[in-house]
């Protein structure tokens, strides 16, 4: 399969997972995994920033439409997409740089992928939860929600990536 087709399939798969499964889990107000961020995380490393930004925007808009929260996910996704190149630069050494590669456990190793995913998910969730609440009362409660949800989202993304690479 060609790469764009793979990404389109991944996009729909993640959206369906998010909208049908994870939006309905409602395990607790503190744990809301948003696994669809994985789409932004695993885009090819060499993809220009403008493309990443537009794809992030579109991803957020789609989730917003289906969860009735216009703007919240869009804001968080564009934020994550914008900081992605900086995080990649932090995490990748010059020798290991290969523009065709997409971040994954197979390409970069478990530890690298875990750290990168954690950072991306944290940025996304931080902006998402504070924009959703839109107030600073209960600052630490929101922060706790961010941290717990980040852990869970990261867990599911790593699990999903393991599953992907072992097929």
């Amino acid at each position: 399969m060609s790469k764009p087709v793979k990404y389109i399939i991944l996009f729909f798969l993640l959206m369906l997972l998010q909208i049908i499964l994870f939006n309905n889990i409602q395990f607790s107000g503190y744990i809301n995994p948003y696994v669809y961020v994985m789409f932004i995380i695993v885009l090819p490393i060499g993809l220009p920033t403008w493309a990443v930004l537009l794809l992030s925007f579109f991803t957020g808009l789609t989730v917003d439409t289906f969860s009735g929260t216009l703007g919240v996910h869009t804001f968080a996704c564009v934020m994550a997409g914008f900081l992605r190149p900086q995080l990649l630069a932090l995490n990748i050494t010059h020798e290991a740089y290969n523009p065709a590669y997409a971040p994954s456990i197979k390409n970069n190793g478990f530890r690298w992928f875990l750290v990168f995913t954690l950072m991306m998910v944290f940025i996304h969730h931080l902006s998402l939860f504070y924009v959703e609440v839109f107030r600073f009362t209960g600052f630490f409660r929101t922060l706790l929600r961010v941290l717990l949800s980040t852990l869970f989202t990261t867990f599911f993304i790593v699990l999903f990536d393991l599953f992907r690479s072992h097929r």
Partner: protein
């Protein structure tokens, strides 16, 4: 000119970033409480249908519990209706009775999508203005208070859940009529906070809290919940935790309440504030 173009090219991703975040912020502020959302109108149909089918599967798995709730409610209603059959109306129908006037009518509706894990929760009903639902109508579940309609379309309506940081309602003790206001704290879907209760009121755990008729939204005396835990003193007022009667995680069938005299009452009250 060339340096300007160079500048723009060099910072193109930053400019695009600011532009896209700008769009997101505009969308956010224009839909601050879910009204007027453009995409809800455009894609709303698809989204509602998908959510509706998910909810269909969920409500199928909850059938046993829903049946129990409904049969319990039937029993309660049957008890109440002895001798008062004309006043109590279940369907959206009008009663012609020269002695008692009908204040409220109840429109039954099914919940097609719901959430409890956000800070601002909304749920969607399968009835819209074609069934007579308009913005600002109160929504109750068989067990008690549920929310307020904030947006309607032809066949659907969106309800601001009690589990929403923006939800406010005045409530009182059933035993002694002292009133205060209720808000959701955002942390747990089965508890709300009741505040502004005068400090001399004796509160015991398990006291029943019901709505007041002050806002013309909810009828007086709709069940809210029971006091759970010791009240906390703040200023001259008490604040306490109240366990909600409605189980929002398992909300399937609700009633939308139409108040026949809301317009008249609001008009009269507005006259006073205009003076």
């Amino acid at each position: 000119m060339r340096s300007l173009i160079n500048f723009l090219i060099r910072h193109s991703s930053l400019i695009l970033f600011l532009f896209l975040e700008g769009i997101a912020i505009i969308m956010l502020s224009s839909t601050h409480d879910y009204h007027n959302s453009i995409t809800t109108n455009i894609f709303g149909g698809v989204a509602t249908h998908l959510n509706s089918s998910v909810q269909g599967v969920k409500s199928f798995t909850h059938l046993r519990q829903i049946n129990r709730q409904l049969s319990y409610e039937n029993a309660v209603l049957r008890q109440k209706s002895e001798g008062t059959q004309k006043i109590l109306v279940m369907r959206d129908s009008t009663v012609t009775d020269t002695i008692s006037r009908q204040l409220y009518s109840y429109i039954p509706a099914r919940v097609v999508s719901n959430s409890v894990n956000k800070q601002k929760n909304y749920f969607t009903l399968d009835r819209g203005f074609s069934s007579g639902i308009t913005n600002g109508m109160a929504v109750i579940s068989p067990e008690g208070i549920a929310g307020v309609v904030v947006r309607t379309s032809q066949n659907f309506s969106v309800v601001m859940s009690v589990l929403n940081l923006d939800f406010r309602q005045s409530v009182k003790f059933r035993k002694n009529e002292y009133f205060g206001s209720m808000t959701w704290t955002g942390s747990n879907h089965s508890f709300i906070e009741v505040s502004e209760i005068p400090h001399h009121v004796v509160v015991t755990e398990g006291d029943t809290i019901v709505t007041t008729g002050f806002s013309a939204l909810f009828p007086e005396g709709v069940m809210v919940g029971t006091v759970a835990g010791e009240p906390v003193m703040g200023g001259n007022f008490l604040t306490m935790k109240v366990k909600l009667a409605t189980d929002f995680k398992n909300l399937s069938y609700v009633y939308v309440i139409k108040n026949f005299y809301k317009g008249e009452r609001r008009g009269l009250e507005a006259e006073l504030t205009n003076e």
